[in-house]
Amino acid sequence: MNRHQDTEDQISPTKRSHHKDQEDGLRQVLQEMEALYEQNQSDVNEAKSEGRAKLIPSIKLRHCCLLRNQRCVTAYLYDRLLRIRALRWEYGSVLPANVRFHMCAEELQWFSQYKKSLASFMRSLGGNEGLDITQDMKPPKSLYIEVRCLKDHGEFEIDDGTVILLKKNSQHFLPRWKCEQLIRQGVLEHVVS
């Protein structure tokens, strides 16, 4: 029978550790689609040449399967794109290496094009300087916040060149915009007193 199971597996949440499985799964689906298409092709030729109308329902069935597989695969790829777009907002314009490892070349290209269009949009706002809308996702309460370091992160440079040593359990009082990235990554924790 047609292996819908493949596509079912495919649409389940893509964990980055199942990267290899996803690739294989996708390939299997594509192979299945090819196989179905071949079968359909031969049956259509047979039906046309020999006029066996009995083959029509099975052709229709395979066609429906093909269409469904196509929908599943495109849904999966689109979902990946949406996640990649969210990565830009979470990580900034440079992606960490372990994330890039899981993206294929076309996705990386898509990402850089998205980056470019976001950047040109941001430049067009706010007069001459542009406005960085990836900062301050929630309305800020103060310019500086107190943060606590949750793990050793080494040295961290702030705007005027000073380097702060982020050691575990040290607390710092820093400008908010520099800390946001690290808070999102879980290195720093905002201390509310």
Partner: protein, 556 residues
């Protein structure tokens, strides 16, 4: 050098700079740190906070940050040691030291450029004057210059001049030797006793007051800092009462702000009130019976490790007319009729049993409907958190937890601290009882000595300095001069704490710091003087006996 105007010479100097705060692990330092942090938040002064538990960590933290930061604020560490020699800083590093440890090292007092002491100059210091300790080296140079000039004179005169010069030189050398002997004596007198000065938290609260940025939160932290000094027996009763009076003025000033308004404060706001409350530790968060049983003062007065003592306690309760059932219940669930006059009733009865000071001046806070705390409750809870002997938590984790517990928004943490403090007090009581009953206290000449073996229950709890000190003071109440050792199994070392003799008028001066140093030197025992309190050291187990022998000979 001492800072005259704390606002101009400290706050405005760091106003636009980045600062490193190096904070020692005691409650007074934590409170001072919170006050300073709140001030820095107000004025957006960027800082980095690093907890340091000993001299080594202080050195490491300094090395890590010295490239990037110029200003260092040391809280409750660094005054009693020659800081410049220990850290070897560059010329542009400036240190602001707010430390309760006395005596302040003379180099720190007389250094004009790099060390600024955030200490009041009249704070019971009796620093030797400059001329007694430091002598200009120029005089030496002049002598040799004169001599070389005289060398070019003709030979006849030269001999006469030489004799004169030689005499003068001998005279100068003799004067120099006398001066040096006197200097050594002065320094020895100055440095032989270790004691504590005004609370660091109070210093910073005063800074906040001068800047008119003081809030009730800061006032409460200052009160906790002061109470910490009293709970851990670091200041005399006189000083405590004087400082309480100072704090009382601030409290009434804050309370008067809101009295005139028709609508009084919302119930969630913080109210601080002066209380002449009982000296029973944590009694409002425990049952009255447990609190009386485990508080140092009452337990020692009744001698609760003896059967006789326990009978006396029962009599005491009966005398006050408190039924046992009530007294063993949680305090909050006691009958209102009993709770109303409790303090007066207890005071009356305790006078009969020889406990004259059952009540002590202190402050309490309450906010919300449920949350009422006395300053001493906060101190015990935070101290228990700071020194909790959990395996997974490092010391800086505990520091952070204790720091959090001081904020009003972390009541859960405070309650867990109170639970830990109860356990600690019970452990102390049991250990004291067993020590006295099994005669673990040995008389070693001029002092008494007690050694806690490996298998003693709760011994891990006592491998931390503050808990150990509390235990010793507890033991000491009925005995005299004392040292105490606890085995720390992991490192094969022993932590030794020295407590000065206990008396009514004791001025809390501790000579064990210097004594330990000298004993260690003379026997070349492997010791680690890492704690900021010089009377607490770590010692290799094998060297214990020879160290003790040296100590005995030294002190007798």
């Amino acid at each position: 050098m001492f800072i005259a105007d704390i606002r101009k010479d400290f706050y405005e100097v760091v106003a636009n700079q980045r600062v490193v705060l190096l904070v020692a692990p005691d409650i007074d330092a934590l409170c001072a740190c919170k006050i300073l942090q709140a001030l820095f938040h107000c004025d957006q002064i960027q800082y980095t906070l690093v907890p340091v538990t000993g001299w080594q960590e202080l050195g490491t933290a300094f090395l890590e940050h010295k490239e990037q930061f110029r200003y260092f604020v040391l809280i409750n560490c660094g005054a009693n040691v020659d800081l410049l020699e220990m850290l070897q800083p560059d010329d542009d590093s400036i240190f602001f030291i707010c430390d309760t440890h006395r005596p302040v090292d003379v180099v720190n007092v007389y250094n004009d450029t790099q060390i600024k002491l955030l200490i009041k100059q009249d704070d019971d210091l009796s620093v030797p004057s400059y001329d007694d300790i430091f002598r200009d080296e120029d005089e030496e140079g002049e002598d040799s210059g004169n001599e070389s000039d005289e060398g070019s004179e003709p030979s006849g005169k030269r001999r006469r001049f030489d004799e004169g010069a030689v005499e003068r030189r001998i005279e100068r050398q003799r004067a120099k030797r006398e001066w040096e002997a006197r200097r050594r004596e002065i320094l020895f007198d100055y440095e032989q006793y270790e004691y504590h000065g005004t609370s660091a938290a109070m210093m910073f609260f005063e800074l906040a007051w001068v800047l008119t940025k003081d809030t009730k939160d800061m006032l409460w932290w200052a009160i906790i800092g002061l109470t910490d000094q009293w709970v851990h027996d670091k200041i005399t009763n006189m000083k405590y009462v004087t400082d309480i009076a100072t704090m009382q003025r601030h409290v009434s000033r804050h309370n008067h702000r809101n009295e005139d308004e028709e609508n009084s404060l919302s119930i969630d706001c913080m109210r601080i009130s002066f209380e002449y409350d009982l000296r029973l530790t944590l009694y409002q968060h425990w049952s009255l019976y447990e609190s009386i049983y485990n508080s140092c003062y009452t337990s020692c007065s009744f001698k609760l490790w003896t059967l006789n003592g326990q009978k006396k306690l029962q009599e005491f309760l009966a005398d006050m007319g408190l039924p046992l059932k009530q007294v063993r219940q949680k305090f909050n669930s006691m009958d209102m009729s009993i709770k109303e006059n409790l303090r007066d009733v207890i005071e009356e009865s305790s006078n009969k049993y020889g406990m004259k000071d059952i009540r002590i001046q202190t402050f309490g806070v309450h906010f919300g409907f449920k949350n009422r705390f006395l300053a001493s409750d906060m101190v015990h809870a935070t101290a228990a958190l700071l020194e909790s002997a959990e395996k997974d938590d490092s010391e800086t984790d505990n520091f952070i937890k204790a720091l959090d517990a001081l904020s009003r928004s972390n009541i859960d943490r405070l309650h867990s601290g109170i639970a830990l403090a109860k356990k600690k007090l019970i452990a102390i009581q049991q250990t004291v009882a067993s020590c006295i009953c099994t005669n673990l206290i040995l008389s070693q000449g001029p002092f008494l000595y007690c050694y806690l073996m490996e298998g003693t229950p709760d011994v891990k709890l006592f491998s931390k300095p503050m808990a150990l000190t509390l235990l010793c003071k507890y033991l000491l109440k009925s005995l005299c001069s004392f040292t105490h050792g606890v085995l720390d199994v992991e490192k094969g070392t022993v932590i030794v704490v020295g407590i000065p003799p206990e008396s009514e008028t004791s001025d809390k001066k501790n000579f064990f710091g210097r004594a330990f140093e000298k004993a260690a030197e003379s026997t070349s025992s492997r010791t680690l003087h890492d704690h900021f309190d010089t009377s607490i050291i770590e010692l290799k187990t094998e060297d214990r006996s020879k160290f003790l022998d040296a100590l005995i000979t030294l002190l007798s």
